[in-house]
Homo-oligomer: 265 residues x 2
């Protein structure tokens, strides 16, 4: 997706790659959204008050196949709102946001809430309790109800200029990334001990032959996000692994292979 | 405010005070809401999509006399939403939430947004930039607009069973608490070095003569929140200063006076 801001003329310019980005593979918007949803248990709900105006409120949630499971009280405005009009959306912010808040990752999931019944009611209760252990103290109060958000629209924003929508089908069939939530130590290791390899990757695979410095900002199942310094300015690029990986134990081999290809080329 | 949950019978019970709480003075809901609003620069906006359904989205904000000043792009759904229907609300979560998310403090501010004009446009721009320095990179893009939320309804939740509403007038005339955001070190000092004094306060001023332990959880301009252990269970109580204070430099004298009164009685 390309943004076309009305540039007042003094915006910082980002240097473009001067060589092909060999493998820009990255998670889809649906995968990114599933990853954010799975990363925390707090969200903000937007519901409709009696007069149709929007009401933003803090909520906790669990996940049932990617669908947020809320537990709210009828004594609270948002609980009355959902009971009267099922249209709802939740915004979730990825944990550990950067200092510049809009550089961080967040999603909106929008649709309609339903009271789960039968087997789904049991599964929804378990899903909520698994994510929000303190709910054991109120989940069975008669004024609290479980609601499952049937997700119809998905918007993911991964920071400045990185954003996309996903369909309900794409979201339902996607999985959270298995690497993102557990990669912090591996990323530190890459940056602390393998800065030369990252620089070669940026030059040979990442499209920035004039890079003078490269740091890994994220690892996911498809590859690495690199922050690249060049004489033309600072940019971000992507080096995709030869194959997607399924677990953190495969990250070392995948990055060693990237380093090897960066030396050979 | 008293909650009347439909108790399933196994809820944890909280021991009541067995003596008068001498001075339970605490900030009003309006003051609490102003304090939360002033404590951060990130919120979730609830706006109305074209079909009238609610849309939750992450935003940054500054404050103009307690009114959130948003800076959003028409290229984003929430920007289009505000331009088409001015009804909006924001939810703000107090920073550093506790491990149990619903024990934390959060607010909802609801009303209508307006594009500021004239002097207010200048002040709104300054207010947003003061709170969100990174906005200098996009605030003047032609697709971005400033919006001031005229706050009509205010809901504050201070954790389990602590919640209240405030009117627009109460909110507009309240001020953020000058002590809450800067009291962390003083609270640590009270808990580390003056546990005996806190226990006396809980026994003599806080209504819990059977307290065996007391810790300070918060200091604000009116007094201290104490967490009290008794043979009957754990409770929270309040010890109000002789007079409200206006700055952190007055906290020591106020707590010394509380300690003195706890000994004398």
């Amino acid at each position: 997706m390309t943004l076309d801001h009305g540039d007042p003329g003094d915006a910082p310019s980002i240097p473009m790659p001067t060589a092909p980005v060999v493998n820009p593979a990255r998670p889809s918007a649906a995968e990114e959204a599933r990853t954010v949803a799975a990363a925390t248990n707090i969200a903000t709900l937007a519901s409709l008050s009696a007069d149709g105006s929007p009401w933003a409120s803090f909520v906790t949630y669990g996940l049932l196949d990617g669908q947020p499971v809320l537990c709210v009280s009828r004594m609270a405005e948002h609980g009355r709102n959902l009971a009267a009009d099922a249209r709802a959306s939740v915004a979730v912010v990825a944990p550990d946001p950067p200092a510049d808040p809009l550089a961080g990752t967040r999603i909106t999931l929008a649709g309609v809430v339903e009271r789960p019944v039968g087997d789904e009611a049991v599964a929804a209760r378990e899903a909520h309790l698994a994510a929000v252990p303190a709910a054991e103290h109120y989940i069975d109060y008669s004024d609290f109800s479980l609601w499952v958000l049937r997700v119809h629209r998905i918007r993911w924003v991964g920071g400045y200029g990185r954003m996309d929508s996903a369909s309900a089908e794409q979201y339902a069939s996607a999985a959270p990334d298995p690497i993102v939530p557990v990669a912090a130590r591996a990323i530190d290791h890459l940056n602390d001990d393998h800065a030369d390899a990252l620089l070669s990757m940026a030059r040979v695979l990442g499209g920035y032959p004039d890079a003078t410095e490269a740091a890994c900002e994220r690892a996911d199942r498809y590859g690495l996000d690199l922050r690249v310094r060049t004489p033309r300015g600072v940019a971000r690029t992507r080096v995709g692994y030869a194959e997607p990986i399924d677990g953190i134990d495969q990250l070392r081999a995948a990055t060693v292979e990237l380093a090897r290809r960066s030396r050979e080329s």
